[in-house]
Point group: C2
DNA sequence: ACTACCGCATGACAGATGTCATGGGGGGCG
DNA sequence: CGCCCCCCATGACATCTGTCATGCGGTAGT
């Protein structure tokens, strides 16, 4: 071992974040040198601490871990990126890889894989759950257009067509048309199911 | 200190569970003697290891942490119960307390509160976030009847009235009536919003 | 230039959803 | 016992939602 691996930890739930830090702290060759709770604080922290690996949770306020990964990949290309998430959604894996992630871990994998992944990415390897990789490939790409995604996201809270039309500056008919095409693309029967399926696949 | 506090840890995500175990392992007076990943394995594990405190996540397969708490409270009344959750929903707090919980923690509280809470409940104290307690009181009790909750839960995935009627062995009109009253009680405008609000409040 | 797709819109229609009035059967409580 | 609430149901009505045909302007790819 030449020197310890410096890790940045980004995760919004303090208890989980500090617990993960404790876990990594048990490893001799790993040191958690920075912790942040928001996606939009990741870049600054990474710059300030000269880290080797960034560990990014996806679900965070400010910016998602995937958005943070894309930023880091652009600004600090040397930095290795491990994306960590609760939900093993194939669409998440796909976006994470497109954002430049080197590893993709789900939180219900054994804890030992975390330190493992940190070492592997530093050695230039990629770490991806094979089951998830297969699922991502089997599923194909996101069939929704930008606009359809946007409207589906806005419809997720139960807004009516009138409200959607108002907030998105569209006519009601247009809103219904977009929802209709989204419903057909996802092969479901109403907007509620469409939202659910799109969420599950990580397409929202 | 007489002897170490024996803790049972129930949490479905391995990485989080083992990380929390690592965190508690740093404390001299606390020992994690058992770990389970399912709600329906909690009771057996508690019996097998003579634990002092059970740490229960709410969101688990098999049975929720709240259901597990109720079981433990009935079978092993001496055992202290700490309920841990991602979501600070007032309705969760209420049900947890009714199930006999001694402490209620949200995962975005500082990690130090975890060991803290374990010690306090063993000393006979109750640990509840004051903000959350206030919210729980302000919100009042769940206004939904059993049937309304059941139907709302079934409607959450986007099922149509016809499907709901079939699975619940009701007429379509009855389904609509229940949804209508639920919608009015929650002061919203459609089933999707009703599901969302009921979820947020922990009433589902 | 032609084609294809996207974003946006309108109008018309069928079917789903939400509301309301009404009523029967049951349990609990004063 | 009367009252209230819950569970279940029906029918009628108004509105919302989803579908389809059609059209226009813009942007990309071949």
């Amino acid at each position: 071992m030449t020197r310890t691996i410096k890790v940045l930890l980004a995760e919004d739930q303090s208890m989980v974040r500090e617990a993960l830090a404790a876990l990594l702290g048990l490893e001799d060759d790993i040191e958690v040198v920075a912790q942040v709770a928001r996606g939009d604080e990741v870049l600054a922290a990474a710059r300030a601490h000269a880290v080797d690996v960034a560990l990014l949770d996806i679900e965070m306020p400010g910016a998602t871990g995937i958005e943070a990964a894309a930023q880091l990949h652009g600004e600090l290309p040397e930095l290795k990126l491990v994306v960590l998430t609760t939900f093993g959604r194939p669409g998440y894996l796909r976006s994470a890889m497109e954002a430049g992630a080197d590893a993709f871990l789900v939180k219900d994998a054994p804890a030992a894989q975390l330190a493992e992944a940190v070492r592997k990415v530093l050695a230039g390897e990629r770490v991806i759950d094979p089951t998830l990789a297969a699922a991502a490939l089997a599923e194909g790409a996101n069939p929704l257009t930008d606009r359809e995604r946007e409207i589906l996201r806005a419809a997720a809270d139960g807004s009516t067509n009138a409200e959607l039309a108002a907030t998105l500056h569209l006519s009601q008919g247009t809103v219904r048309n977009y929802l209709s095409t989204a419903i057909q693309k996802l092969a479901v029967r109403n907007r509620a199911e469409a939202v659910r399926i799109a969420r599950e696949k990580g397409w929202l």
